[in-house]
Amino acid sequence: MTAAATLEPGAASQARRSPDRWQFWGRMLVVPYLLIFLVFVLYPVGYGLWLARHPASYVKLVEDPIFFRSVLNTLVFLIVAINIKMVIAMVLSGFFIQTRWWIKVLSLIFILPWALPSIPTILSVRFMLNPEWGVINSLIFQLTGNDGPNWLNHPPLALAFSMLMHVWKSLPFWTLILIAGRLAIPSEQYEAASVDGATSWQKFRFITWPSMRSLYITSLILSMIWTLGDFNSVYLLTGGGPADLTHVLATLGIRYLRLDQVDLAMASIVVALPLVLPLVYFMMKRLSK
């Protein structure tokens, strides 16, 4: 590449009639991305691993009770929230391919959470849940005369709301993906099944699911990878609180960073790699086919 990049103007004109010129331009055109990759991916990743090289960082990390709690929260987030989200997306993809005028209108509204930036809507939910002034507790007070619970001050509830927030935000995207998958199934298959008297469950079991299984699993894995990096749903709703008990790995690293404990921040990420790398490997194999 360096040889091609330092070609003299004379040499370039000499190359004009040779096929090498196409390779030369090919190389020139991948250089911008390669530079970005070297300077802003390879170097940071290498530097980060170097910062996390001391075994002492890992000892300190394991001794931090917040770390274990975060790992647990992350696993709950990945297993519970994502599976619920994907099952709902699967059901809704079947709903949205029905031809009704009102379903068409609803599908436009339905993608709002995905189209809107996450900060305003997450903060809106955060304020709905405010124990004193939030609309939910105001309604509870008006209806029952009792004060509602302090929703975000209760760790399992707060984490559950973070997961709901995540589902709210990303459900439209995955539903759209699965709708695309459903629309790719030839309608003759369903017509033939109807003639044979198949129930809708049988149609799903023997036509829809076999054609969508691969897409569904790919979506599930990709969603897991992205969710590992979902900082906003937790940080903006609960801030990791109460008492740092709702952190996930995505917010924990940033917390250490803000406490100026970069080695711990990087160590917490390195510890997550055994979880991330198999998923990444799976996706790379799927997509680079």
């Binding site: 900082f231 940033i254 790379m284 799927r286």
Partner: protein, 283 residues
Amino acid sequence: MKAKTWKAVTTEAKLLLIGIPVFLWTIIPVYHLFLFAISSKDSATSGRLWPKEPTLQNFATVFHQRHFYLDHFWLQLWNSLLIAVAVGALTLFVATSAAFAISRLKVRGGRTVMNLALFTYFIPAAFLAVPMYKTMGNYGLLNNQWALILAMVTIASPYCIWVLKQASDKLPYELDEAARMDGASPLQLFRLVYLPLMVPSLVAVGTYSLLLAWNEYLYAFLLLSNDRSVTLAVALGNFLAADDSPWELLMATGLIYALPPAAIYYAFKRYMVGGLTAGAVKS
């Protein structure tokens, strides 16, 4: 006949049974945001479905920057716009060149470049943020808007390259050969044949990267800290600093901040949904 109408009615009822909860679930947080933005401070928390006296006062306060949280509203809005446009343009440049080189010029090692890009795409964004922050410090770019622009280009371009490569692989190769026969140079092929054919995908990835940058919170608040250089996203997050924040102003600002990306999304929905869902997950 009667059984048939009965069946049709139950089908509609079942659909409504899904449709109504989906509508409420989707709209409540958005409507709450809107309701707050048009309510005065005291009436906002009353729990009414429509305020007794809807007001645009909050927007006036925001536009006139009459609150210390909003001292730099216009500047921050401008920062968001500038950074989003810069990220969109740079990502388009980087991703289109790379996709053209890999897919059409069949550059040697193109597959490796594609895999590097895919690998980057699969690093969870919050994980890369930590080393990215330290790296930007080493480069002396912290608090410089270029740090955010370059970080967002780094995050946006892998996916764009991938989507563009998928789309360019579908163009007939005979086009390139015909152009070569006529003596076109690689750049002429790029400009006169490739770019015009790729317009829908270019719109999709350009919009994608623009919105990604406009919506970004984590990288923006890590890499920028000066009140005059942060984006509106960071300014919104700053409202969380105090318990007695003026929430009605936050909601009004949030609504202003949310409208442009939503408008762009809906305007380009045709391209976004087609270009991006097809590219996001290859079945």
